[in-house]
Symmetry: C2
Subunit: 337 residues, 2 copies
Amino acid sequence: MEKKVTLKELAKQLNVSISTVSKALNDSPEISPQTRKKVKELADLNYYVPNVLAQNLKTSHTKTIGVIIPAILPHFFAEALHGIETKASELGYRIIICISNESIQKEAESIKTLINGQVDGLIMSLSKETQAKMDIDHIKTLFNHKVPLVLFDRVLDQISCDKIQINDSLQAELATMELYNSGCKKIAFFSGISNTSVSNERKQGYLAALKNLDIKEKVISFDPEKFPEKKLVGLISRKEIDSVLASDELGAILVMKSALDAGYKIPKDLSVIGFTNGTMSKHFRPSLSTVDQHAQDQGKLALETMVDRIEGKLSEKFSNYTLETSIIHRDSTRRNF
Amino acid sequence: MEKKVTLKELAKQLNVSISTVSKALNDSPEISPQTRKKVKELADLNYYVPNVLAQNLKTSHTKTIGVIIPAILPHFFAEALHGIETKASELGYRIIICISNESIQKEAESIKTLINGQVDGLIMSLSKETQAKMDIDHIKTLFNHKVPLVLFDRVLDQISCDKIQINDSLQAELATMELYNSGCKKIAFFSGISNTSVSNERKQGYLAALKNLDIKEKVISFDPEKFPEKKLVGLISRKEIDSVLASDELGAILVMKSALDAGYKIPKDLSVIGFTNGTMSKHFRPSLSTVDQHAQDQGKLALETMVDRIEGKLSEKFSNYTLETSIIHRDSTRRNF
DNA sequence: CTGAAAGCGCTTACAG
DNA sequence: CTGAAAGCGCTTACAG
């Protein structure tokens, strides 16, 4: 098999100049139809594909966008990534993805490998560590290199850039209200993802609702690896709680499992609402009522915003989108309202 | 904010040549320690990062690998992708991902956008359509462009390249045997992913086991969007089946749900084994016994193989890895064996 | 130890 | 309508 064919070789074979070949291939009106045809035929015959690296070097944009997310396994991120990829391929962009594994260091490394010209912009959802420590030095290097940034879902006020979010706090407040309206009076908040801005927002919303309702708060943070089963069961048996708002899907499922295993009925003895509408929510028995975060839409919007920014269609001022969300009512909550 | 700083500017500021700067930055022993230090300091000060595009153009390798998968939402692929990314970042490679959405056309487009020099090699898992139609013309263009290919999970014999698989047929056979040994005598095979090589392999394994056992086969293909609930319940109530091997996770979950909803007990009335060890398998009640496909390992091995191929560490002959898999016993099967 | 020069594969003003 | 030349930002033999 011969080497990859270049403009140079095509030019030699046709006895014309490289410029002519280049222009012909790009359908420049400068070139005569006959030459254009001749060039294209030979190019096809040789499976010629222009080297993007060289093209990019000239045009200095790459039509590829970097994506750094904390993980892909959680349904929310897989779904968001799906949205990003779909929109990207629609708009003719490629995506390079890096996973930070919730670590600030890995995040910084990924940024470093991506700001070297191979990417027109960066879409990120921040790692837990970055959010917790509010350490954003590594993010700032982006701006030193004039690489535009779009943040989605896990954002930070300190960073000024385009942002896509959902109104987590409001949604949590509404979800809490719904539990109340369906007859629940002792509502607990369970979080398996403390340390993230979203979990915090959701807690704030929960607390705000309780304040209005004049209900006592009960916030429980836990490590998903060791769910506090006994504690939950104790709370139910002592009738200290009759419902749970969980800040994430897995948390909600673990709450339901523990309650069911202990012999309680859902939603009769315990109502549950989760966040993130994943496959588990849909297929668990009973199915889980949940706040839909519209992960795909967040991803799509992030990508669109990025492209608009790159192509100069946005004003200097950064945009801050807050997506509408909705509560999906399923079988883990009562309907009497 | 100034323009991106280049070697040229650093050279000008230091009153040395571009070559010197380049060599200094690359720690060439040709350059005196003092100059090296001076250059590096200025580079840091200016946040200099070499333009990979230019580097690649010279060295003609990009240290990035393209990945084309049919989807990211199914747990298997998310997990495989996770493995690929992890290993890539370990070995200093970046990955560009494209999703074919199970379509041959999208697959072909993705290949086209990736073979233009921006990728050192391609890792793929084939779309259903590609596997069903055995249409591999678009794959062949890869070879015309001398881009190495590694196939994992969904492969095709007609394509000669490095391959990573699990022994689906054998695993299905073993899983069927296990159902038998645990006392099941009427074993059905449910597939929500017909049209894929893996589903077919698994069916073959199932059939092979039944043949040995002299049991009558019962194969049911269905569209995951409309699971044949009545049919399943009918089969159970008429005692025509006492167990199910499902070719995928969602299929297994749907089988369990339908049976449970109809009032049957698992595993007492119906034993179930699935494929793909996802979160649903783990958290469903009862938890699902399943064949672990070691998705992450497949991903990691695919990436490693790719890198070895690129770096010339592999012999001309293509390798064909078959990974060991294992059955994870949980609560959807009986233990009396 | 330092630098001038060629070249990676392309694009694009500028001449002719 | 066609081509020579410069340049994108780097690397690397080759001279000095």
